[in-house]
Amino acid sequence: MQTPKHITIFHGPQHPGITGNMSVELDLMGETIQKATTHVGYLHRGFEKLIERRTVIQAFTIVCRICVPEPDPNEANFALAVEELAKMEVPVRAQYIRVLVLELSRLAAQFLWMAGQSGSIGLYAVGQWAIADRDLILDLFEELTGARVYHMYIYPGGVRRDLPEGFLQRVSKLMVYLKKRLKLYDDIFINNASFKNRAIGVGIIDASNALKQGFVGQVLRGCGIKADVRKDAPYLIYDKLEFEIPTQQAGDVYARALVRRAEMDQSIHILHQVIEQMPQGDIMLKMPTHRKFKLPKDDTWVKVESARGEFAYYMAGDGSEKIRRMQVRGPSLVHAYTLLEKLLVGAELSDVALIMNSLGICPPEIER
């Protein structure tokens, strides 16, 4: 198949334009992609099997590693699944703190996306600024949880530490700062003619099949489908908070960028409400030791809205201290195979990184 005009190349696993350790095999005719094949298997992480071999409490430290850019939705999902199986009612303060952590995590993940998306078209200054601003959120995580990336904070039964003194004021102050900064990002990135010209009309997703194919998150909302777990099946205290689900109609890379940008505003809005409403009280239920904590023989399916879309866990207990089976259903598998392989056909080689970044693909989640 290799002729002077027709070549096959690997985009990744070591490529600045790939979103993690995976690769896309591209059949090119000149600059145009004829066929795209996704390849994974560069991580061999096997989280689901690792979790089956540990007690529930031990397994809790593994799940955050399923997605590096935003570990907290995994921790929340794990805790929610265990609590539902064990019929535990988490204290209200802990639920508020969880939402605080989840929204901060969403903001941090969106800043990281902004860095990747802008880097994919050569706007590196935006990327460096976004990483610097994300670091300010990580500073808050360091103070609250004791770690910057893998927080291991949302624990079955509550959260592990209470808020440090003055923490909410510091979050509030940072949100005011970030709100100002986001206007600057609009100027240099979202409204930038370079980005618009590259992103408008590229990677268009058809809304008619999007739900049937199992797409989630900004992929759905970017083509006009209002879907968000926080509204559709509220968990924690999201039903007590006011926020909107931003949507766009075009279904292209630019529409997905606009949706993400609007979601950052909504996250800041939610965080202000959480700070205002934060109740006093316990942060954790009294938990038995890890060998005595047993899950009943039952199964459950829980889901949260991550920064990249619906993130679900299936969990089954068998009456022992170990989890019988756990399955992770994130956005990456369906976006990296079903969607990306079709979306790249007919696209230009230079648009591969651009399209990939807009889909929110995280390879460890595929190789769970």
């Binding site: 540990r54 007690t55 409490i57 031990q58 397994a59 430290t61 593994i62 200054a125 600024w129 610097a132 670091d135 500073d139 360091e142 103070e143 004791g146 770690a147 893998y150 291991m152 592990r160 530490r161 440090p164 600057l184 609009d186 100027d187 240099i188 990135f189 409204n191 930038n192 003619a193 370079s194 618009k196 010209n197 009309g201 590229v202 030791t289 890890h290 060998r291």
Partner: protein, 130 residues
């Protein structure tokens, strides 16, 4: 791809020039060192006067990073096993479950987190007695 003239989109990125008047986000390491937040999960410390050698930390560690070993350091009189924990930092994930289950609260994580050594054997770490 159709390129269009977008005057607003061409001029708006000039806002980046404002960065010339801002302070840098980075710090001049190592002249200025980053301060770690209180409660940061760094290296282990163990107060030997309190440690009772119960091995709860070893039991809860999901990575098998903790071994209970005999040591020539002075023990707590209540330490019947006469063993104290030793951490393998090749395995540890700093989850802090070991400190959560410590009955006398002697095992803790310190804010210190930078460790440099030429020897791989230094990954086997004896918590500082403090």
């Amino acid at each position: 791809m159709k390129w269009q003239i977008d005057i607003e989109g061409t001029l708006s990125p000039l806002a980046i020039l404002g960065a010339f008047f801002q302070k840098p986000n980075t710090i001049a390491y190592p002249t200025i060192k980053k301060t770690t937040a209180t409660g940061y999960r760094g290296f282990h410390t163990n107060v030997l006067a309190d440690c009772i050698g119960c091995a709860n930390c070893q039991d809860v560690c999901m990575n098998d990073a903790i071994d209970m070993i005999k040591s020539d350091q002075e023990y707590n009189k209540k330490n019947a096993s006469q063993c104290i924990p030793r951490i393998d930092y090749g395995r540890c994930c700093w989850c802090s479950l070991c400190t959560d289950v410590c009955p006398p609260d002697s095992l803790k994580l310190d804010e210190e987190y930078i460790g440099v050594s030429k020897h791989a054997s230094d990954f086997i770490y004896m918590p500082k007695n403090k």
